[in-house]
Point group: C2
Chain length 412, copies 2
Amino acid sequence: MGTLRSLRCISCGTEYDPAKLDYTCPACGPRRGTLEVLYDEATLRHTVTRDSFAATGRASMWRYEALLPIDDVRHVQPLRVGWTPLYAFPTLADEFGLAGLYVKDDGQNPTASYKDRASSLVVIKAQEKRRPIVTCASTGNAASSLAGFSAAAGLQAVIFVPQRAPEAKVAQLLVYGAKVFSVRGSYDDAYDLAAEAADAFGWYNRSAAMNPYLVEGKKTGAFELAEQLNWQPPDVVFVGVGDGSVVSGLCKGFEEFARLGLIERIPRVIGVQAEGSSPIASAFSAFHGGRVEYDDVDAHSVADSICVGKPRDVVKAVTYVARNGGSFVTVKDDEILDAILALARSTGVFAEPAGAASYAGLRKMARTATLEGKTAAVVVTGSGLKDVASARQRVGAPIVIDPTIKEIERHL
Amino acid sequence: MGTLRSLRCISCGTEYDPAKLDYTCPACGPRRGTLEVLYDEATLRHTVTRDSFAATGRASMWRYEALLPIDDVRHVQPLRVGWTPLYAFPTLADEFGLAGLYVKDDGQNPTASYKDRASSLVVIKAQEKRRPIVTCASTGNAASSLAGFSAAAGLQAVIFVPQRAPEAKVAQLLVYGAKVFSVRGSYDDAYDLAAEAADAFGWYNRSAAMNPYLVEGKKTGAFELAEQLNWQPPDVVFVGVGDGSVVSGLCKGFEEFARLGLIERIPRVIGVQAEGSSPIASAFSAFHGGRVEYDDVDAHSVADSICVGKPRDVVKAVTYVARNGGSFVTVKDDEILDAILALARSTGVFAEPAGAASYAGLRKMARTATLEGKTAAVVVTGSGLKDVASARQRVGAPIVIDPTIKEIERHL
């Protein structure tokens, strides 16, 4: 891909040569200095059309190779990542007073989460950079995703998880052959340790917001929302927010498609945070242009994948969402658990708590001016099978009976 | 679909009007009398071509609507079932002395198992037959699949599980809003009660091998193996076997495609059973044409989805596999658990034990005359996230550390 141009600091705007910088702006530091990946869009405007993606014949995010920063498509693993189903639920839309309601099920990715979009790309960057060991800190999904794609690519993954990571996610890492360190401490402790270890040992770091290419993988969800709706993206897109990278990716994807003339309108993106873990929502409320200010919090939420007190992509998330007229909304843990059941029972899509947070946000904002008569999409970022224990809190018990028809009749 | 012709008893050959019989041949009884769904193939030969499936524009099993027994495609749920990825692993093929090795990942279905192919179809039959309540006995994939598709279709699912059913699997059913009866007794007690209740209350029964349309959904995996390999299906196809319906579906799919002139050669299908649960393999060994004889066993295996001592589709499974020159192979539980890790680490595909049984079978038969120089496909029938506990038995625990570089160094 010859159109990758530079990496630009989201805060100071300095542009860097991608061959010379791996992670964040040295001047602005790790959180303020997250980098944006820029392309030669003047060239792209001549080469990319609405038809060019389908013409690749790829039913995966790699249909967007022309807009992704890789040198050699031969490094792409066969695993089908992206091009996840987008479901329309017109009856449900009616109930919410919406003109249309779509659910994008990113639980249908190789390791069952949205994070596969980023991992599949980062593993390729590691190969291009000749870094045989990749690392990351993660509450779960990013880690299992990196472990899976590393296994497929023949790379070694070293993963740092906080001790509270759900069992299913940790087991997944070990099955994929990753070396897994369970860190006594929080996600933030694990995050700092992964960065330190990457420096010390020369490992390639995939931790959230550290690596500029993550958002590039994540932007493909926006590309798909546009292409799957025949280039008429929804008015509003809901997505759960933890570190802020997925929401940033969606926003950047829509912006790029608009600048390339592929869509005429950029959706408002609504970031949904858990009440007990909402530092980006707070930063957004305080933001009125200029410098993004933020405070870290002591986060707690049932939605482990978005339970982040020290969000790493807060600057991008606030900046991008403000630019498309979107906003942030917070939901209670109870509302998230309710949303898991409501979504599963009305659509058949079983989401993990963080994946259902988007739907909780939509339910909360239904019948407001932002939504009335609009089309809305909800991004489900992970499968419910990733965290059955949380869903279990909300369902009752089965009815215990002797094997007789009479017993059944008694309970009908 | 106007080409559905009749339901024919696999044992006595009597044909029945599909409008007049729901389940099994009254003369031969529930197990010997499982029914085959027959079509007007003379008509189909004129209407169905290799191109006609892609021309539907559907990237799901519903691209094969012309060969499926439904009346009205409007009942099809939006959930993307089937058209699961088929991955090629040429390097791995070399290691096994194969000309080609393909992995079909049916964990990438809406409820993460192959069973979705059957449930999505049976839910439509229930709607056509105006049966608003569907039922089945099962503790695992069939139940969660039926619960998920019933939720999507707005039907009520009533599920019967034996009391020892794992709490987490039961929770998944409850999330989807199924009514769950925990039966004091065995799986067989639950199975019989479901059948009795279906009769008593007019519910539509999806229990294994009871419903003739299950195999119709399951045959679409074979259709995809042919179409995704450009109408040159593999020489050999491996699949795990419990009740015998999935393996029967694959065989029937290849046979139908061959009779319609869409493929020139029918693959040998190899059914893989766990050593502690191999009544169909035993029946196959004893089979030399004529009547299929079988003995039930007291089954035990780590691969719960294929742990079936009283297989309900044994007659079809033995008959069909014999017809295509296939065979059965048994594998130890240890080999199944090893296969989970081997598959995940070399391909990135994380399978549940029953899903990895197919790969265990291939590993066992590698370098035999059946496989040497051949192309082989392995069907992964369920996601590893369905049964994390089993995989965990083989992988140990993460390394618990304090967040310091020194601690990492100690463990490298």
